[in-house]
């Protein structure tokens, strides 16, 4: 695996290898020495054209636990904010010795473009590209679901996952649908019709506009963040109406089966798509997701960097 650009690129075997690897690497967290020497001497560059503190810190922690050197470029206070292009910034990072570039970018397809343009030879890991994909988020979601609902091994065959919110603009939803269905889960998307992408019928999932319809047989509910700019763009009448129709409150949570879990990629708008009561409740795995993010990203960095020199 030279690059990780899209969750849709992963077949079942590749996805399971990543999850199994992450499972083994998670144990490092419990040791006195929370570090492996694996990527000593390798350089990982975090190139973040968009602010995302939690994703950046997660990749940094993952790289450091594998003993890689980390260079971080973020939009604020760097040449990126002075109008330097993706191409030039990537060339700069490669000149500094980066073998892998972890890219967060506001343009859909930016990671694929960086990987395929011939600008650089480094590996590229997509850490979120516009409204396209966020494959490591999908991996950590799959990992978290597997850990809590499938005993930490195997696939997600038969698992019923409901994803709720702004599907149209969500890279997380696209990656989750791709990866979770590859692993055998059945995904239902819930959103107001204005926030469902055109052509969603061709996606490998169900769509409903009624959240309550989807609750009773869900094994997991994933709530997506609603960006504040959507509220001013007539996607729905008001935050209040959105929250009433598509928010997860304790009344709705009570309709879930007892074993069902609640996920959120963060950062949450408490009181908007999820109430504090549910976010802090016993079903919520939101903190687990963060911890699992580090293990999953360690697995991705290992897979990408151990493939770098032309090996299979």
């Amino acid at each position: 695996m030279k690059h990780l650009l899209s969750a849709a690129d992963l077949d079942r075997e590749e996805a399971l290898t990543l999850l199994d690897t992450a499972e083994e690497l998670a144990s490092v967290t419990d040791r006195a020495v929370k570090k492996l020497p694996t990527l000593r001497g390798r350089t990982v560059a975090n190139l973040f054209f968009e602010d995302s503190t939690r994703t950046r810190l997660s990749f940094e922690a993952a790289a450091k636990r594998l003993s890689a050197d980390v260079i971080t470029f973020t939009a604020k206070g760097s040449s990126v904010s002075k109008g330097e292009t993706l191409k030039d910034t990537a060339l700069t990072l490669e000149a500094m010795g980066a073998q892998v570039i972890v890219l967060r970018h506001h343009a859909s397809g930016a990671a694929q473009r960086l990987a395929e343009s011939g600008w650089i030879g480094a590996s590229v890991i997509n850490a979120g590209d516009g409204t396209h994909e966020h494959p490591t988020q999908a991996l950590l979601d799959a990992y978290t679901l597997r850990q809590h609902l499938r005993g930490g091994s195997g696939d997600l065959q038969g698992l019923r996952v409901v994803i709720v919110g702004d599907i149209l603009h969500s890279r997380v939803a696209r990656s989750d649908v791709a990866l979770l269905t590859t692993l055998g889960a059945r995904v239902t998307l819930v959103a107001p019709p204005t926030l469902v992408p055109v052509g969603v019928e061709s996606w490998n999932c169900d769509v409903t506009f009624d959240f309550d319809d989807a609750l009773s047989d869900a094994d997991a509910v994933m709530m997506l963040r609603v960006q504040s700019e959507r509220m001013n763009a007539a996607y729905f009448p008001s935050a209040h109406e959105y929250s009433r129709r598509y928010g997860l409150d304790s009344m709705r949570a009570a309709q879930l089966p007892d074993h069902a879990v609640v996920l959120h990629p963060g950062p949450m708008n408490r009181g908007m798509e999820i109430t504090a009561e549910v976010a802090d409740g016993h079903r919520a795995l939101i903190v687990d997701q963060v911890a699992n993010g580090v293990s999953v990203r360690m697995a991705v960095l290992y897979q990408v960097l151990s493939s770098e020199e032309g090996a299979a």
Binding site: L25, S27, A32, V33, K35, Y302, L305, S306, S307, A311
Partner: protein, 180 residues
């Protein structure tokens, strides 16, 4: 070219018994001894040696597994290897006598990685090495404390260890590289 069987099932059983006795003798009993098998075939070998030691001593001997993949010195040269489980007995390895168990000792690089891995887990009193076959061609200053069989080989040859747990049969084969 057909591979020659250099150890058959009975030989493998005998060798495991001898190694178990040697470890007990060298450690003056099983107290404080932990066996860590190196995946893949070092793990069942370690279990068998531990079982044999337990039947001699009359009480169980702690045994675990130690995956060394993330400590290897050839990351990026051979493509990603799948990770195996690292399973350290609950009592930990501090102040214990850790006996690393592997099937074949060759360049010594796997053992070098294992020593690093052990170092990150705890501080044992001593680390020893038991292998089923030592085929020579060391590339590092490493030697085994307990050897089932010394098997002089050429680099063109390959040594294949088969165990019931992983391959359905106990045997050691010596063949040419291409036929492996």
């Amino acid at each position: 070219m057909a591979a020659a069987r250099v150890l058959d099932a009975d030989d493998v059983g005998r060798v495991i018994g001898r190694i178990a006795h040697e470890i007990l003798e060298k450690s003056r009993g099983s107290s404080g001894v932990i066996l860590l098998g190196i995946p893949t075939r070092g793990v069942p070998l370690a279990r068998r040696i531990a079982d044999r030691m337990a039947s001699i001593e009359g009480h169980p001997v702690p045994v675990g597994s130690l995956d060394v993949t993330m400590y290897r010195d050839d990351i990026g040269l051979r493509g990603p290897r799948p990770l195996s489980a690292t399973d350290i007995p609950a009592e930990g390895i501090d102040d214990a006598i850790v006996v690393l168990v592997d099937d074949v000792l060759f360049s010594g690089r796997t053992i070098r990685a294992a020593l690093d891995a052990v170092n990150d887990i705890g501080r044992p009193r001593a680390v020893r090495l038991a292998v089923l076959v030592d085929r020579g061609h060391r590339e590092l200053p490493i030697r085994a404390d307990h050897v089932g069989k010394n098997l002089p080989t050429s680099l063109a040859e390959s040594v294949q260890v088969h165990l019931v747990e992983t391959d359905g049969v106990d045997e050691v084969l010596l063949g040419s590289r291409d036929s492996s």
